[in-house]
Assembly symmetry: C2
Homo-oligomer: 206 residues x 2
């Protein structure tokens, strides 16, 4: 089994975090770094594995290439059900899916758009719209405020239990530092407390 | 059970399509139209159910409110496993998740961004960046071309079986007509053939 990734990018970190929470030894998976900055993910060889040109990609021993972060997570959840990170009962699964998607569409996506469109990091390969990027940064800021309120009644993003939604959220917040977005101790005390708890988990550092 | 929706919007259609494919009688679910144009989804009452302000929302009989299209679909998949639309084996589930996400992030999202940013339909509530919208429209066009090639070797988006990925894709392509994006008979013969097959399913019209 091989994991094609780019260590500093947020989506590969989500997958590593997920795998480590499952208690799977990451050293048992061969990890291959793809040079995103150099465009290796857009080369024909990589696109044969993932025509969308994104990392991470998990290559199974039979050659099957799985891409999309949550598809890879679902593969590990299916083969290593404990501890459940996508929920057990039907209502738990639906609730975690809801919160994980809120974190993806209302936090990670705006942070990523703010990064791409304000820094122009990928301007060699995509058109860049700085005003749109700034607007996305403001959306992400509003989500920080929302989450701080949300955590008044919830220990974790999806409620009472740690789940993939916490992984997506913490990775998004950490990645936002690249565009100088930081949690504000005056406004985000609860979010900072949650962030410290999640960051203290051993899997947060892999 | 109540479904809060806006009939013409793409995400509510994905949920109706999914429910009907399960053989569930849509008439057994009370459907409540939310006036998106008039901003009813942003009012305090609606935000109590879904703070993100999006439709669809499924309200269960105990008052639990589930939002996010795929969370609602997962709820129905869990309670009505047949026919499976999210896959059965672990590898099927991961493969369908991968393809559904490709349809969401590389097709539905750019179509939706092109709609919002080129038409200014929601300019009373969000900043609008027309050049970004045009760029998203071009991304969606490239996905039409990609899917036409992909269908040379696959009967359905995720391979050999109909799945939620076909629902997401067909709903996205139909919604793209609002911004005058249409399949091109000279370039998209296979995609048009697939589109006709999917559109002929009774659930496509609910």
């Amino acid at each position: 089994m091989k994991l094609y990734e780019f260590e500093r990018a947020p989506n590969p970190r989500r997958v590593r975090f997920f795998i480590a929470e499952k208690g799977i030894d990451l050293a048992s998976i061969e990890r291959i770094q793809i040079d995103i900055g150099g465009g290796e993910n857009r080369a024909a060889e990589f696109r044969q594995m993932n025509p969308m040109g994104t990392v991470p990609v998990l290559e199974l021993d039979d050659g099957t290439a799985l891409s999309e972060t949550m598809a890879i997570c679902r593969y590990f959840e299916g083969n290593h059900p404990e501890p459940a990170l996508l929920g057990q009962s039907v209502i738990e699964q639906a609730t975690i899916e809801m919160w994980n998607r809120r974190m993806e569409f209302n936090l990670l996506l705006p942070v990523a758009m703010a990064f791409r469109h304000t820094t122009g990091h990928f301007s060699d390969r995509e058109n860049v719209f700085p005003d749109y990027g700034s607007d996305c940064g403001q959306s992400a800021q509003r989500m920080f405020d929302f989450l701080n309120d949300h955590l008044a009644d919830n220990d974790y993003i999806a409620g009472r239990q740690f789940s993939v939604a916490d992984i997506t959220a913490v990775v998004s917040i950490d990645f936002a530092r690249v565009i100088k977005m930081r949690l504000d101790p005056d406004k985000h005390a609860r979010l900072i407390d949650w962030h410290e708890r999640i960051s203290a988990r051993p899997a947060a550092s892999v």
